[in-house]
């Protein structure tokens, strides 16, 4: 899951977009800008809106996919390995394994024990990290180009040769529990978001938090983790993405000598439960004394770039839904902001976002946060009126034209940074999109019609397939 995509930087207001927990939300962006809206928005606006990264691709003999994204501004590369496995692939009752394993991947191998890899990254002036989401797990370093072979040697080694010791696992379990407290348990909005997901997905594993439930994190064993690792961390289930000052011709021999030497594995296949028809509107409310500012939102189940949703819509409606989110709530000119924040003056923020970058069902969200003294019911009524108005009349040609022009512009901005292309293409392949799907996005966005947007809105915006979430301040009694 990425950061809210509509929370684009331009037009980003003083208020940051609300708190859908965004596991892989571009953490390396969190420092720097210092603007209230945060740097995550830079990237947030871009995934999958990108158009023309012009990547080169090839496949190794063991089935590992390779993507090269050219960017020759500096002699630097961003080296990423993505595994097509995430928290939604965990066995029932074992939530948190994917993320736990991601942490343990830094604990070393026989050949490069302990922190050897991290020390090498650091000594070479590199940056590294990793992230886990519902659908994928990725590891990455950014280094001077001439250090790339070292990174590939060490990254490929840990694909199959991880060492797991009881001591490391117990220590890391404590770190992960601290991470969970920091991201979730210390934050009422984090706690509420977990409940929203658990209510929204009746059967799909997206109902479980990526980091895992605390009691299940505590119960994970080395055999659990090892089995997960052996099953999923295989070359045919991995994608190598290198962005930067390099070509496929240069990368290929390096990739063959490192990743290419790993024998093909059993070929893991994802098998996930799917959603039954949803028939009941749900509301989740959290009142907590720690809350300073209340908020209201409604999350609808929707198709994604690759997932159809039985009885609702198909994945080819994702583009229309992106436009819908843009018109409804993509900035200060959007319908929700204009109506609730500027017109009626009852909210400090209001908007919508839709993140189709998931292998399973996606979420379409409308949200608002009240001005002092405004009740959540008033926000709900106002948002509902805007949504109903749109359902009745659709969007206008002018709105469509402006939204698609902005989205095409976003695809140009996406080329600027070294990392954006790698992120977008890695995500795409990990969830089952094609490179071509990403590369043709701008022209396909331009081809979406008014009728298609209206039909997509009518398909998705149904309260019985949605969870309304209300965060309130609990007053001292």
């Amino acid at each position: 899951m990425h950061a809210p995509r509509n929370a684009r930087r331009r037009g980003a207001r003083v208020i940051s977009i609300p708190r859908d927990r965004t596991p892989a939300a571009a953490p390396w962006l969190t420092l720097g800008l210092g603007l209230l809206v945060g740097l995550a928005l830079l990237l947030a606006a871009l995934p999958a809106r990108a158009g023309v990264f012009n990547p080169e691709t090839f496949t190794l003999k063991n089935g590992m996919a390779v993507v090269v994204v050219p960017n020759h501004r500096m002699p630097v590369v961003n080296h990423m390995v993505w595994y097509r496995v995430g928290s939604a692939d965990e066995p029932q009752g074992k939530s948190g394994i994917a993320h736990f394993l991601e942490h343990l991947m830094f604990k070393g191998t026989t050949k490069y024990p302990g922190g050897t890899f991290s020390a090498a990254v650091s000594r070479n002036g590199g940056r590294e990290n990793a992230f886990t989401s519902y659908d994928y797990t990725a590891f990455h370093q950014t280094v001077a180009k001439d250090r790339l072979p070292d990174m590939m040697r060490m990254e490929s080694d840990r694909m199959r040769h991880l060492t797991l010791t009881p001591q490391d696992v117990e220590m890391e379990r404590q770190v992960i529990l601290e991470e969970r407290r920091q991201r979730t348990d210390n934050r009422p909005s984090g706690i509420l978001a977990e409940h929203v997901d658990a209510a929204l997905f009746l059967n799909h594993p997206y109902r479980r938090p990526v980091i895992g439930w605390e009691h299940e994190i505590r119960g994970l064993t080395i055999p659990d983790i090892k089995a997960f690792y052996d099953h999923w961390y295989q070359p045919e289930n991995a994608i190598l993405v290198v962005a930067g000052d390099i070509t496929a011709a240069e990368l290929k021999p390096l990739a063959e000598a490192t990743y290419g030497a790993i024998p093909r594995g059993p070929g893991p296949v994802r098998a996930r439960p799917t959603e039954p028809p949803q028939q009941a509107a749900r509301t989740v409310t959290l009142a907590d004394a720690r809350v300073g500012q209340p908020s209201w939102n409604r999350t609808y189940l929707a198709p994604s770039y690759v997932a159809d949703l039985a009885g609702v819509g198909t994945h080819d409606q994702a583009l229309a839904l992106e436009i819908l989110a843009e018109v409804l709530g993509g900035g200060t000119s959007s319908r929700l902001y204009q109506a609730l924040v500027m017109g009626q003056g009852i909210a400090v923020s209001a908007g919508a976002y839709y993140s189709p970058d998931s292998q399973g069902p996606a979420k379409f969200l409308v949200y608002a946060s009240p001005r002092p003294g405004v009740a959540p019911e008033a926000l709900e009524a106002a948002v509902t009126a805007v949504v109903q108005d749109l359902l009745a009349g659709g969007i206008t040609q002018d709105e469509l034209d402006k939204a698609t022009a902005r989205m095409r512009d976003d695809a140009v901005f996406a080329r600027d940074s070294l990392r954006t292309g790698a992120r977008v293409l890695g995500t795409a392949l990990a969830i089952g999109r094609s490179i071509q799907d990403v590369e043709t996005w701008p022209e396909r966005i331009s081809a979406v019609t008014l009728d298609q947007v209206a039909a997509a809105a009518r398909a998705v915006l149904h309260d019985e397939r949605a969870v309304t979430s209300i965060l309130l301040r609990k007053e001292a009694s």
């Binding site: 003083v14 420092l31 210092g34 830094f106 002036g125 001077a144 200060t332 001005r371």
Partner: protein
């Protein structure tokens, strides 16, 4: 979920914290390719530093006026922040809706931010509408309207943001720490302003701020991307030429952090994990030992996953997900600050480990290997900062604000390389002092003797 928090969170919001820390320079590796920085001075006398890159049709601009929220009057805390929220909410003949509508429709990013010491702005645009983007930037800074509707709307938004920040233990801890270190000085005030101050701000205050602060003599600009020096110079004159020549002068006293309260301040809050923030006096940016301090900090608790605090607090003991230190130089004071988050039951252990590492580094110094690895990290990570237009523009502004000179980009690695083990150890002995460490803990920590609040 990330394996590691990649960077420390910006604990004390300052405009360009990372850059000041680790703004490094040219490629050490073979085949180094220098970034060329042009000093552009327009016929009208406006200076900007420019890194041209014509790969993509994108232009990024950053600017900063010296003088930030620290200058807000005591009864108007939050004034600078309100100005930042409002200058792009209507300017010239364009009301808020029209102004924002153009930004949106033309994909132009325009944002402003009030830091403690500077008022910053950023603009990003595609090349084909650069004239329009510069025009809107110029209007925002020279003819902001401050109409009634946006003033109240933005005031409410900032107040709400303040409430959200006050929910967060780490934010509460930061404010308390600065309050303890700088009593009676503007640095000791909450950097985001106060509800009372925000409520009191009038349109006259906003206008006075713009008139007094937005001037050519306290403005620095950095630009990157698809634009030539000639075009940039012309656009600067055309759209920023109307800025007054001089800002209204101000003074802010130098101040030494008050560590008389050294020890632990506890603020009770019902959360499972305590936020821990700590600081002791640091070095200012122009201190001759600043580069030794950068190396020292990196070894102690810097941003890579190999620092001593990271190793001892996280890796060996599992006490925190995130732990780090950073140099925090301000214009009139300097700190070495740090941060961690630990379950309430283990806070005491974390504090002990931090003090232990502080003491160990002060008394035993660094190893040859640590020194060598840290220097190659600091020098080698330089090119990573030149991988996107906006990052480069930010760095161009930061280097100007710190008055490091346009040749800084060519000198920085030599300055790091010249740091000796003796320099670092001497500095460690002189600087690091567990007795001057002030901790603030927000949460329900167990077993801490001194409960101040």
């Amino acid at each position: 979920m990330d394996a590691r928090p990649m960077f420390p969170r910006p604990m004390f919001p300052r405009l360009f914290p990372v850059l000041l820390l680790a703004c490094v320079l040219l490629l050490p590796a073979a085949g180094a390719r220098a970034v060329t920085v042009d000093r552009v001075v327009s016929p009208g006398g406006i200076e900007a530093w420019l890194v041209q890159d014509h790969t993509n049709p994108i232009i990024a601009l950053r600017l900063a006026f010296r003088g930030g929220a620290a200058l807000d009057p005591d009864d108007r805390q939050g004034l600078a922040r309100m100005v930042a929220g409002l200058v792009d909410e209507g300017a010239g003949d364009l009301d808020s809706r029209t102004f924002q509508g153009i930004l949106n429709d033309r994909s132009i990013t325009l944002n402003f931010e009030a830091g403690r010491e500077t008022f910053g702005g950023e603009m990003q645009t595609l090349t084909d509408r650069a004239d329009l983007a510069f025009k809107l930037l110029g209007l925002a800074l020279t003819q902001p309207r401050f109409d009634a509707e946006p003033v109240e709307r933005i005031r409410q938004q900032i107040l709400v943001n303040l409430k959200r920040a006050d929910e967060q233990p780490s934010s509460i801890a930061d404010n308390a720490l600065m309050g303890a270190l700088f009593p009676g000085h503007p640095y000791g005030r909450p950097s985001r302003g106060t509800a009372q101050g925000l409520a009191a701000v009038t349109v006259d205050d906003l206008r006075a701020f713009a008139a007094n602060r937005f001037a050519r003599d306290n403005l620095v600009i950095g630009v990157t991307g698809d634009i030539t020096p000639e075009r940039l110079a012309a656009l600067l004159d055309e759209h920023l030429g109307a800025l007054p020549a001089k800002a209204t002068p101000w003074t802010l006293p130098d101040v030494a952090p008050d560590t008389g309260q050294a020890g632990t301040i506890v603020i009770r809050k019902p959360v499972p994990q305590s936020a821990i923030t700590f600081a002791q006096p640091g070095l200012k940016r122009d201190d001759p030992d600043y580069y030794a301090a950068a190396v020292l900090n990196q070894i102690l608790g810097g941003s890579s996953f190999t620092s001593r605090l990271y190793t001892e607090v996280r890796e060996k003991r599992g006490l925190a997900y995130s732990v780090y230190t950073q140099l925090y130089p301000m214009d009139h004071a300097a700190l070495l600050v740090g941060d961690a988050g630990t379950a309430n039951a283990r806070v005491k252990e974390t504090l002990h480990q931090v003090r232990t590492e502080w003491e160990r580094l002060a008394t035993q110094g660094v190893t040859d290997e640590e020194l060598a690895d840290t220097k190659t990290y600091l020098t080698g990570s330089f090119p990573l900062r030149f991988t996107a237009n906006d990052r480069i523009a930010r760095m161009l502004v930061a280097v100007q604000l710190d008055d490091l000179g346009i040749d800084y980009f060519d000198r920085r690695n030599d300055l790091i390389a010249a740091v000796s083990k003796e320099d670092v150890n001497r500095l460690a002995r002189r600087l690091l002092d567990p007795k001057r460490l002030v901790f603030v803990v927000v949460g329900e920590p167990e077993g801490l003797a001194r409960l101040n609040q």
